[in-house]
């Protein structure tokens, strides 16, 4: 399946290679570099590149390309999913997944890759199993190892590997038994200039951090499980129980994991928590443009909007801006033409605004598209879809765990289109 893996940084250097079968020469990556050159943005490199003898499947994460070399037919998603799993594992082990982190831990990386694939077929990808085989590097352990000469590598087959709950290791012990669940929702929306919603959907996840002794069997129930009609589970969730009773019943992995992700797409369910009023005008022939932008909260269920950040790609003709924010700081990069305004918290009594003028390139023609405005924000203690956890019960163990649940809403791909509509086209229907 997966023949070799090359890690390529943003400047086009291969800084790590690993082969699971015969060695494939680095020159195979030339095809990748060609495609990279052709692409205007790093994201535009096609994920699948056929070459005369191989196929290159790549993912881009943290500005590193993970290029897998394939020799024969294999479902491309299989490879892509695996590569992402590799990145997640690195992140899990090293905290960050950067070129420097990988280079510093090259031995651990190699050991991990060796365990994750055998002959190109995934062997162990569960982080709990991997951590038993290869212990994550910590400063303390490095010190201890150099002194005592002990190793980072486990000598026994992780118990999870053989059991029906491969995600959990046995013999877990904690003095404080705690289980935390974070319900995090991201709202994606496209709003048109008049403020009406074109599309809006909520993508939610429940991330858990479970530190419980032994083999606890948890059940999590919701006040309104009907909201969740499109879900995907961590393998630990008992699907049949969910089908029958709409209850999440599972033996959790140890540590951090994503229990569930869900999707609420029904438009009328999605209340848009923020509105943007903007007025950006360019006059033909003049070298000045006007810029006005006001923000305000809308349907936030009494919770405040925080960490609001506005960004917009202004047209190429804009040379510079002279704007005045009522709060926060703004920044305009004359090279990339990226305007960003860090608003911070929105006070409903005093709505933040950004007003001023833009200077345009002399003689440049009037841009025919008003810029799109991207908005980021956070709402603490509230899940926009209204999802509420009812209760969490634990079976199988005697102690009483500490349980916690947190809600949060974030903006995902939230944009307001500044387009002038219905001008050119005369649609009959």
């Amino acid at each position: 399946m997966i023949h070799s893996l090359f890690l390529v940084n943003s400047s086009g250097d291969i800084f790590l290679e690993k082969h699971w079968k015969s060695v494939v020469s680095r020159s195979v990556c030339d095809y990748f570099f060609e495609a990279q050159e052709r692409a205007s943005e790093p994201e535009n490199v096609p994920p699948v590149i056929p070459t005369p003898h191989h196929y290159l499947i790549s993912v881009l994460r943290h500005r590193i390309y993970f290029v897998a070399v394939i020799q024969s037919e294999v479902p491309p998603l299989f490879v892509i999913e695996f590569l992402h799993r590799v990145v997640d594992t690195f992140q899990d082990y090293f905290g960050v997944c950067t070129e420097a982190a990988i280079k510093d831990n090259v031995v651990v990386v190699y050991e991990l890759l060796e365990e994750m694939l055998d002959n190109g077929f995934p062997l162990a990808t569960e982080s709990n199993i991997l951590k038993e085989l290869i212990k994550p590097p910590t400063i303390l352990r490095t010190v201890v190892n150099t002194i005592t000469g002990s190793t980072n590598v486990g000598e026994q087959l992780p118990t999870g590997q053989l059991s029906v709950v491969p995600w959990r290791r046995t013999g877990v012990k904690y003095t404080n038994n705690e289980a935390y669940f974070d319900v995090v929702e991201e709202i994606d929306a496209i709003i048109d200039k008049s403020g009406s919603t074109i599309t809006a959907e909520i993508q939610g996840v429940i991330d858990a951090c479970v530190k419980l002794t032994g083999m606890p069997d948890l059940t999590l129930s919701f006040m309104n499980p009907r909201l969740l009609d499109d879900v995907s589970f961590h393998p630990c969730v008992r699907f049949k129980r969910w089908e029958a009773e709409r209850i999440l019943s599972f033996i959790p992995p140890d540590g951090n994991f994503r229990l569930l992700s869900y999707h609420v797409s029904c438009q009328n369910l999605v209340a848009i928590p923020v509105y943007v009023k903007h007025n950006i005008t360019f006059r033909e022939g003049s070298s000045q443009g006007r810029f006005e932008l006001t923000l305000g909260p809308k349907q936030t269920m009494g919770k405040g909007l925080e960490a609001v950040l506005i960004s917009s790609q202004l047209p190429r003709g804009v040379l510079n801006t002279n704007l005045n924010p009522s709060q926060g700081t703004y920044n305009f990069d004359p090279v990339t033409k990226l305007l960003s305004w860090d608003v911070g918290k929105i006070n409903p009594q005093k709505l933040p605004s950004l007003k001023g003028s833009m200077s345009l390139q002399a003689g440049a023609s009037k841009p025919d598209e008003n810029p799109t405005i991207n908005i980021q924000f956070k709402i603490q203690q509230s899940a926009l879809s209204g999802l509420k956890v009812n209760r969490l019960d634990m079976y199988g163990e005697k102690y009483k765990p500490f349980k916690g649940i947190k809600y949060m809403t974030k903006a995902g791909k939230f944009q307001t289109k500044g387009l002038l509509r219905g001008r050119a086209w005369d649609l009959k229907n």
């Binding site: 943005e41 994201e43 649609l427």
Partner: protein, 1054 residues
């Protein structure tokens, strides 16, 4: 550092030595103190060699870490091979692993030296630690040295029968490695694969299927026997294995089942509904129409893959989606839509692949994705290839109803700053315009407006699309052509200019004044134009010459002369051709007569269609589909067979009853008649069916048609159950057990009219049961879910004892059965009244003995109780109350919260009868009432069958003589002597297992009592014409004599 990295090719020699010195500095942050001194040393590798050969473990480890760092950077470290390989036997496991890494990388280059390490691996293969065994095999098989092929082969064979499933998994991986090293081993490897395919561990399943796909994907016959097992294990296999198994099963299903895609569009639901109608006429009608019946195995696959749509692994979701696309009936495919749309929220690369597949799907099945149209709206942050895929899908989804929304969306895209994307949008608009005639005019007008766009690419693309649109309906658009002629001077993109020229020429009669003028301009600029424009200029000239030679003769001559000396030979060629064609001279008169018809022939309008139109020739989700060419190793998906191959090949035969749980169950999952072979079998029951249901139709129903009745019934039964979740398949299989076994028992006496009557009665009973079966689902669910899973697994899978430890981890039930326990030889379906509906105020209950070992406690006898509510109000909280004798040990079923009117449920309970036939009395309670009921077991039900050899049997018998033996001589009924093996009536009376016997006239049966586990041995010896001697040996002499009485009755009467 970074400058060093710029060179991609492998370096060697002194060059690399320099590199090494600089490269390793950052990785050696925790290196020994001495290391810094050497960092600029030229003899870097010497230093490593010394470290590797030193006595200190820590130095060696440090050196190996640096070596691995070199390998990771792609530097050559092969000269260290001798030094490294010495450490292969190291005790330090981390060091050992790093040596393994090194070996796998360089063994191919240093084959002779690599052989030094082999003996270490051979030793490690015998290590008691499974991890060490597995990793030794991994490395041994990864060393690509042809000389060790026989050693590898041996190791693989051994590992394939290792105790540890993890080692077996590794051996499955090793198969592929060996195969790629030496293809001659194929036959031997297939044997190993065959063996591993039988493995019941979920850990092995994925890997062995992978090996199967790589080594012998055409040996579909190996799958037959494992098909059901794979389907049932699928949910528990690790996610990567799931992907591989699903795609293999997709191919398998396409060769083994008939197409569920019916032309007449009769859906399964339809059949299902008809089933409930008692009208015999209807059933018969349908029989004649021969509706499609899905093979239950086909259904099994669809049902068991469906939950995986909820997987977090996108590859699994996609593979289930493609399975449904390629295998499911058309009306069921749409259940995958939601999950696919969900994947669009995943990483960019995932989106790309999923969108590609949706693009292909949406061409054939618009309806599937139309409700999710908005999910395909383009965001400004999307990557270019994602944008164009979304456009593609939106275009495919466009129809009369949603076109205005889509066009409005497209308008905004045209203004995008990404011009490539804007151009793509214009093409998409063109496609919408041709597909949906209502909007053609609107689109055309819109595109004309775009001609005044400032951006060149947008204008050019618009021109090209307008040309195509005009060609489709050229009549009323001379205005647009004129408009374009006006814009002509401002357009610089060659393709757009060429398009306008072509339009002028094609419709020159509609613009008689403008066309010659355009030609005049072109004549001026001819030499500076692009080739494609020149060609069209020549074309335009020729066409004008033919229609309007007066004005354009000279211009044409001029252009043809220019073309004659052009640098491009295409243009020279074309010029020569045109000149000969249109300018009349004496040589070529014949052709120039037709010049008008040749050049101005009506041309068919171009078809604007999706680039994804023909991608459906590749299996969805594959690499080949993504790159739209056949990738190496792509396995074609075959067409459905016209006639399904024999289904019975998937029946699992019972070879070792010792190991199996329920031997008879495996067979009975087969519920469909294989017409050719089983005709007789089914025609028999079919006839009875007709009678039993009281139809007045004559008895001469041909055997084939009646067998169809049967098949429809059983098929429907399946369809009913298919819609439910898995657990009930246990009861499903079970009902089949009963049906089939009773049928075989009836087989013999079909000639006698008397027995026919009696069996027809039982048949109608059977029918009732069948209608109830789907309802039983609730009951099984009523048990604890985990337990249910176990139950259904046991029923369905014929799980061997081997898997039980795994299961027992899952549910803390005592599953400790003595190994020799076997499944029941026969399950009588006779049910007894527990509570009559009159006395039970509408609640009626029946019980029967399923003869399954009780899961709750091994000493209990399991009892199956069917509760039916015959009242018109729901009964609540049905449970078991007081019991007597009070010490009676009962495992109650879970309280049934509510039983709807007319509904019935089946529950299981366990009763410890304490090896006596004393009735178990208890109270069956509802919310309002208590009913005292009692279960009195027949003596035969208190036994559990065991298997033993004849030798063991005799040994046991020898111990149980004297007062432990009871015997009787009986006169047997005639048919018991002849037509039927003696085992049948014995098995009916008592739950005993057959013991193979070397003598024809002596039959032996063995069992043990449920509570005390005392052995019960039964011998039936036939003597002469009609006498038989029954001997029973057991230490429970009371039970022995009671059993003897029952057996006497059963064998003598009948």
């Amino acid at each position: 550092m970074s400058t060093n990295n710029l060179s991609y090719s492998d370096q060697g020699g002194t060059d690399s030595a320099v590199e090494v010195g600089q490269e390793t500095t950052p990785t050696s942050s925790n290196a020994g103190a001495g290391f810094g001194l050497f960092s600029v040393d030229f003899k870097k590798n010497e230093d490593l060699k010394e470290m590797l050969e030193s006595n200190k473990e820590s130095l060696k480890l440090e050196a190996m870490k640096r070596v691995v760092g070199l390998i990771a950077k792609g530097k050559n470290a092969s000269e260290l091979f001798p030094a490294v390989v010495k450490n292969v036997a190291s005790k330090n496991i981390e060091l050992k692993k790093l040596v393994y890494v090194y070996l796998v990388r360089y063994a191919e280059e240093q084959q002779d030296l690599a052989l030094l390490s082999i003996s270490t691996f051979q030793r490690a293969l015998k290590d008691p630690n499974q991890l060490i065994r597995a990793s030794a095999l991994r490395v041994l098989s990864s060393i690509r040295v042809p000389i060790i092929v026989p050693i590898m082969m041996l190791a693989i064979k051994e590992a394939a029968s290792d105790m540890s499933p993890y080692v077996r998994k590794t051996s499955a991986h090793a198969i592929q490695k060996l195969y790629s090293l030496d293809q001659d081993q194929k036959e031997l490897l297939i044997e190993v694969i065959e063996k591993l395919l039988k493995d019941k561990s979920t850990l092995v399943a994925g890997s062995v299927v992978m090996a199967f796909e790589e080594v012998c994907p055409d040996r579909i016959d190996l799958i037959h026997k494992n098909y059901r097992k794979l389907c049932n294990l699928l949910v528990d296999v690790e996610e990567w294995g799931q992907v591989v198994i699903i795609s293999m099963l997709t191919r398998y299903a396409r060769t083994q089942f008939t197409s569920p895609w019916k032309e007449d569009g009769v859906f399964d639901e339809h059949n299902e509904r008809a089933f409930y109608e008692s009208d015999e006429e209807k059933t018969r009608d349908e029989t004649e129409a021969k509706p499609y019946m899905m093979d239950p195995d086909h259904r099994l696959l669809l049902r068991n893959t469906k939950p995986l749509l909820q997987s977090r692994n996108t590859a699994v979701v996609m593979s289930v989606a493609q399975l449904y696309w390629h295998l499911a009936p058309k009306n069921e495919v749409s259940i995958v839509t939601k999950s696919l749309v969900r994947l669009l929220r995943s990483h960019r690369e995932v989106q790309y692949i999923v969108l590609q597949n949706i693009a292909t799907m949406s061409i054939q099945r618009k309806g599937m994705f139309e409700p999710y149209m908005k999910s395909f709206y383009v965001r400004s942050t999307d990557a270019t290839h994602i944008k164009s895929l979304k456009l593609e899908i939106l275009t495919s989804l466009a129809n009369e109803a949603n076109i205005s929304t889509i066009l409005r969306e497209f308008q905004t895209y045209v203004k995008s700053q990404d011009k490539q994307f804007a151009a793509g949008t214009i093409q998409a608009i063109g496609r919408c315009a041709t597909n949906i005639s209502e909007v053609t005019d609107t689109c055309l007008n819109g595109l004309v407006l775009l001609l005044s766009n400032r951006d060149e690419t947008v204008v050019a693309e618009s021109v090209v699309v307008i040309r195509k649109l005009l060609q489709i309906q050229p009549t009323q658009h001379s205005d647009i052509i004129k408009h374009m002629a006006k814009l002509f001077d401002n357009i610089t993109v060659p393709m757009a200019r060429a398009s306008i020229l072509w339009l002028m020429g094609e419709y020159c009669e509609r613009v008689p004044k403008i066309a010659p003028d355009v030609l005049r301009k072109m004549a001026k600029s001819f030499t500076s134009e692009e080739d494609i424009v020149k060609l069209q200029t020549v074309n335009l000239a020729a066409k004008l010459y033919l229609t309007n030679s007066k004005q354009t003769k000279l211009l044409t001559q001029y252009i043809l002369n220019l073309g004659k000396y052009d640098q491009n030979y295409d243009i020279r060629d074309r010029t020569r051709f045109i000149r000969q064609l249109i300018v009349p001279n004496d040589k070529n008169g014949a052709l120039s007569k037709y010049a008008h018809r040749i050049l101005l022939a009506p041309k068919p309008a171009p078809v604007l269609e999706s680039a994804y139109k023909d991608r459906d020739r590749y299996q969805l989700g594959t690499l080949s589909h993504t790159i739209n060419t056949k990738a190496s190793g792509y396995l074609e998906l075959s067409d459905w067979p016209a006639v399904a191959p024999d289904q019975s090949v998937r029946n699992v035969e019972v070879i070792e009853p010792v190991k199996e749980w329920a031997p008879s169950l495996g067979k009975t999952v087969k519920s469909k008649p294989a017409k050719s072979s089983d005709d007789k079998f089914y025609s028999d029951s079919g006839e009875e069916e007709e009678k039993g249901s009281g139809s007045s139709s004559s008895e001469d129903g041909s055997s084939s048609s009646s067998s169809e009745v049967q098949s429809i019934l059983s098929g429907r039964l399946h369809i009913l159950q298919n819609e439910r979740v898995c657990p009930e398949s246990g009861s499903d299989a079970e009902s089949h057990v009963q049906k089939n076994s009773s049928q075989t028992s009836e087989e013999s006496d079909k000639s006698s009219s008397q027995s026919e009557k009696s069996s027809s009665e039982s048949d109608s009973e059977k029918k009732e049961r069948k209608t109830k079966t789907p309802l039983q689902k609730k009951t099984v669910l009523g048990l604890e879910p985990i337990c249910t899973a176990c139950l259904s697994f046991l029923f369905l899978l014929n799980l061997s004892i081997e898997v039980l430890p795994v299961l027992s981890k899952l549910c803390p039930l005592s599953l400790a059965f003595p190994l020799q326990l076997s499944g029941p030889a026969f399950v009588p379906e006779k049910s007894h009244d527990l509570l009559h509906r009159m006395t039970g105020k509408g609640l009626s209950a029946q019980y029967q003995f399923p003869r399954q070992p009780c899961l709750y406690q091994p000493t209990m006898v399991s009892v199956q109780i069917s509760l039916t509510n015959t009242t018109d109000h729901p009964l609540e909280q049905i449970h078991i109350g007081d019991r007597s004798p009070t010490g009676l040990n009962i495992h109650c079923f879970n309280t049934i919260e509510c039983l709807e009117p007319e509904a019935s449920v089946t529950v299981f309970m366990g009763i410890d009868f304490n090896d006596s036939t004393q009735a178990a009395n208890f109270q069956l309670c509802t919310k309002e009432d208590h009913f005292s009921v009692s279960i009195q077991p027949a003596i035969g039900e208190l036994l559990l069958p065991i298997t033993m050899t004849e030798l063991d049997f005799r040994k046991e018998q020898g111990k149980l003589l004297g007062m432990n033996e009871s015997s009787a001589t009986i006169t047997m009924a005639a048919e018991n002597m002849t037509s039927q093996p003696i085992s049948r009536p014995v098995a009916t009376v008592a739950n005993l297992g057959m013991v193979p016997s070397s003598q024809d006239n002596v039959h032996r049966f063995a069992g043990k009592t449920a509570n005390s586990g005392a052995v019960v041995l039964v011998t039936v010896e036939l003597r002469g014409e009609s006498t038989a001697l029954i001997t029973i040996n057991t230490e429970k002499s009371v039970m022995g004599s009671m059993l003897l009485r029952d057996l006497k009755l059963a064998l003598a009467q009948a």
